[in-house]
Symmetry: C2
Amino acid sequence: MANPLVDDRGLSFVLYDVLGAADLARLPHFADHGRETFDAWIDLCRRFSRDVLYPAYRPLDEDPPVLVGGAVKVHPLLREIWPRMCELGVIAASRPFEVGGQQIPATIALAANLYLMAGNCAAYGFAGLTSGAAHLVEAFGSPALRERWLAPLHEGRFAGTMALTEPQAGSSLSDVRTRATPSDDHFLLSGSKIFISGGDQDITENVVHMVLARIDGAPPGTKGVSLFLVPKLRLAEDGGFEGNDVSVPGLVHKIGWRGLPSVILALGESGDCRGWLVGEPGRGLAHMFQMMNEARIMVGANGVATASVAYLESIAYAKDRPQGRSVTDRNPLSPQVPIVEHADVRRMLLRQKAIVEGGLALVLQAALQADLAAHAPTPEKRRRAQLLLDLLTPVAKSFPAEKGFESNALAIQIHGGYGYSSEYLPETWLRDQKLNSIHEGTTGIQGMDLLGRKVMADGGGALSILGEEVASACARAARAGVDPLWIEALGRATADVGALTMELAGRGMGGDVDAMLLHSSDYLELFSTVVVAWLWLLQAAAAKEALAEARGHPDMLQGKLAAAAYWLRFELPRIGPLVATCREGEDSYARVRPEWF
Amino acid sequence: MANPLVDDRGLSFVLYDVLGAADLARLPHFADHGRETFDAWIDLCRRFSRDVLYPAYRPLDEDPPVLVGGAVKVHPLLREIWPRMCELGVIAASRPFEVGGQQIPATIALAANLYLMAGNCAAYGFAGLTSGAAHLVEAFGSPALRERWLAPLHEGRFAGTMALTEPQAGSSLSDVRTRATPSDDHFLLSGSKIFISGGDQDITENVVHMVLARIDGAPPGTKGVSLFLVPKLRLAEDGGFEGNDVSVPGLVHKIGWRGLPSVILALGESGDCRGWLVGEPGRGLAHMFQMMNEARIMVGANGVATASVAYLESIAYAKDRPQGRSVTDRNPLSPQVPIVEHADVRRMLLRQKAIVEGGLALVLQAALQADLAAHAPTPEKRRRAQLLLDLLTPVAKSFPAEKGFESNALAIQIHGGYGYSSEYLPETWLRDQKLNSIHEGTTGIQGMDLLGRKVMADGGGALSILGEEVASACARAARAGVDPLWIEALGRATADVGALTMELAGRGMGGDVDAMLLHSSDYLELFSTVVVAWLWLLQAAAAKEALAEARGHPDMLQGKLAAAAYWLRFELPRIGPLVATCREGEDSYARVRPEWF
């Protein structure tokens, strides 16, 4: 049987039984929808991914793009895939009807995207980037820009990119140097960008780059950075298109996502690269960051999807591959058992399951809060959801990337020697996964964002809201008859995190920001463990409810309880020493001097 | 500056200041040696690796072997490298003078090999495999076999392989099916082997396969497996060589170690493949396992070497790459700082350092015990060393593989977007490293070996010896003025491990082997953390001693203290929840049924 990419029953369980996403249709904005249209959309994408994207996965990995005469040629299969993916409506699925979208909740769009990403992250990448660029134009572009660019982006006639990074400005975007010189209704851009995913290809008529640049005379730092729309081809006077002095001097050879080109862009080498300001001057980074929750949750979703497909592959392998016998079976003539019968293999599978399905609940929970933040009926509910979304975002971005990488490595391990060969797919997913801890803000940056900004937001309000959610999950679990020890463990861990956070906040407010942030990566790790424990307790509660009512598939529900047990009993206690170290302020790496290495 | 592969000062410090390896020269077997010859050998290999092996690393990775007309063609650079490596004397360095070796202690040979492996694991692999095959012939071969095969193997005119694995017999070697039918002075072999590293190439005159096979009529299982020497070419009647019906139907495309072919071998497809029995019939696995400590420590050494070269690469990058400013610097005009100035980057570097240099001390300590087990003056000392070696082996094999993989991933992370490209080398080392958790017994198997056999050996005697070593390290650390909290932490952790082990042993002796082994992987992890903490405490003690006597390089010594602090204060406490879970017997993955996944 072909790899299912994502477990259908488990996804439906998390969406509807755990998170109650069907209720989104009660919000006026989603009134034209209901569980039927949600499921129909997910099913469309699921089938498209299984039938079209996934079969192209290995070919795209094996033959990455090439640069020929200054133009990027991508895998020829993308010429067939791209129009079909656009026709499906993937790019604008969650955008409002008024701009040609289907007004599907972000939660449902994300659920569907999980299949697309699990099937072929590189092929989906073109659509994801185009969505992101279009959303920027929709949110901040002038009516003229929206009129001109939105439809072809949504239709996929043009593709979009995010052109932020420069050789000297990666994590530090305030150091962007690309210049924008005012000229008539536009600006003349000049500079160099690097790592621009989808920065050129031969599958769309045009490419629309969303470029960060500095208007002449702008102040240094963040406040001098503006956002521009810079097309590869611009409208010519004759109504056709002409070159816009955007060239591709080179390709980056990525180790994963190999179907999606990563290019170096040279803007204005002949002094004739035109860009149009999007939003306000000096607000480029702010505009970008308004999209950042969305972008980071998509990275998290990719982490989940990439771990999911590998997890499902390792289950199939473990059930199929005979090797060895039980430790107590001394009879060499007894047949070998499938390796899933070995406890240590099940340990690895259960760990993968806990990471994949904990991560899946996490990114869907974040997307749900995004829907509520935008469309909940009252300002108070919207505000609450926004705070929770902001708090969950660094976790949703980094947990699937970091633990997903571990999970992807376990998929190789379960495949043994075969897993170490390119005849089998787990190694490709491991390579894909590594990107997710780097792009859209490294894991280190997520840790500083969480501890330095998010948990402190609103005077600790965000953390209180999370506490309320945990309390409500504990109450639900108690009603459903979940093991009281699990509930107690989550309650205690949440209290520990709260107390630790107050203590660290005190250090920051006392003026010692370095001391507050010293263990931000460790804090991120322990905080993420607790958040995922909350989502596993919710899943355990929903599983117990379903079992009591004889709803749902018993094997799937028992699996949920097993994974919940693993996370709550095995993984959650591991935060103890991390909390202690953060509190104690163990400072070996703060004190170490560069010359000591 | 080119990557130094291994830190020279740090290696010398561990060898001589921490482990006192110079004292090996006092043993009669090594009487012709002294620190000067030790250092000379290490230096020879170091320079050879820096000048010859490392420059060929990327080329070998980029152009892996191909199969042409049934013969494997390896990278042409190997034709230049191989004779030089043989001439250096790498293959037989640690073998006795009487068989043409240099009688160098295993400890020193391993230290030198670290450079060779860090420079080019694939190129070194040919020599390592040849050493292993020759050692089997030396230890178990008849005088006739030794006479015929040992010299050309040691000289590198022939290369050796280990032909154990079959498609249905990987981790479970007792399921080997290759047949050996008696015929005159030899056996006729028939069967298929897979994943045979160096199984064919075009750089030596001949290839000598050490093959596990089953003599006709042999009992099933382990006791029916014998060891054979099966050459690619056999001696013909005319005194020349002729084909021996060993063919290569295919190559495995490994994701790392790509310069070293991994082949499928077909033995006796024409019924004319001759093999010669090595050792006793039915003792093939036992003979192999007598070499297993050696082989597994070499895997551990490879894990250390592969993590070392990547660690050194990330230090150089972190000191060179400017990006961002300190969290408290709000002036966008101030120059960017090298990323090593960011605490979170130093955290990653210090974690790499602690893993690499902790692992280095671990594999050298194991090799030292191997030297003592073979050559210590009294039977009691030899026995003690053997027990400690046996106990350390699963740790030395798996810790560098597992934590080294994490360390290699951190090297990519530190390189950011550049690390995700094949323009930079960290991704190649990550691929290389993954093999080490798989070959020569997976990590899961090491866990079962440690808990099921090694810590129980000699009625717990091995564990007592480790306890004595820890106590002696604590005493040394106390004398040297190491922070008493660190000493206390190690003492407590060691006691915890002892108590846990007794408890688990009790379960096993009570007849419930499954319960004893339930958490063997977790036990391996916590046990390894404690063992490495012991080695870090020893390094801290030696650093304090040197600082007090104004010996050694102060920066290097301060770095040792910082890494020791990190391991003892941050990493060691993390065993707490693992110990609790093992004791408690959390059984989610034991109970989970295959159909629940």
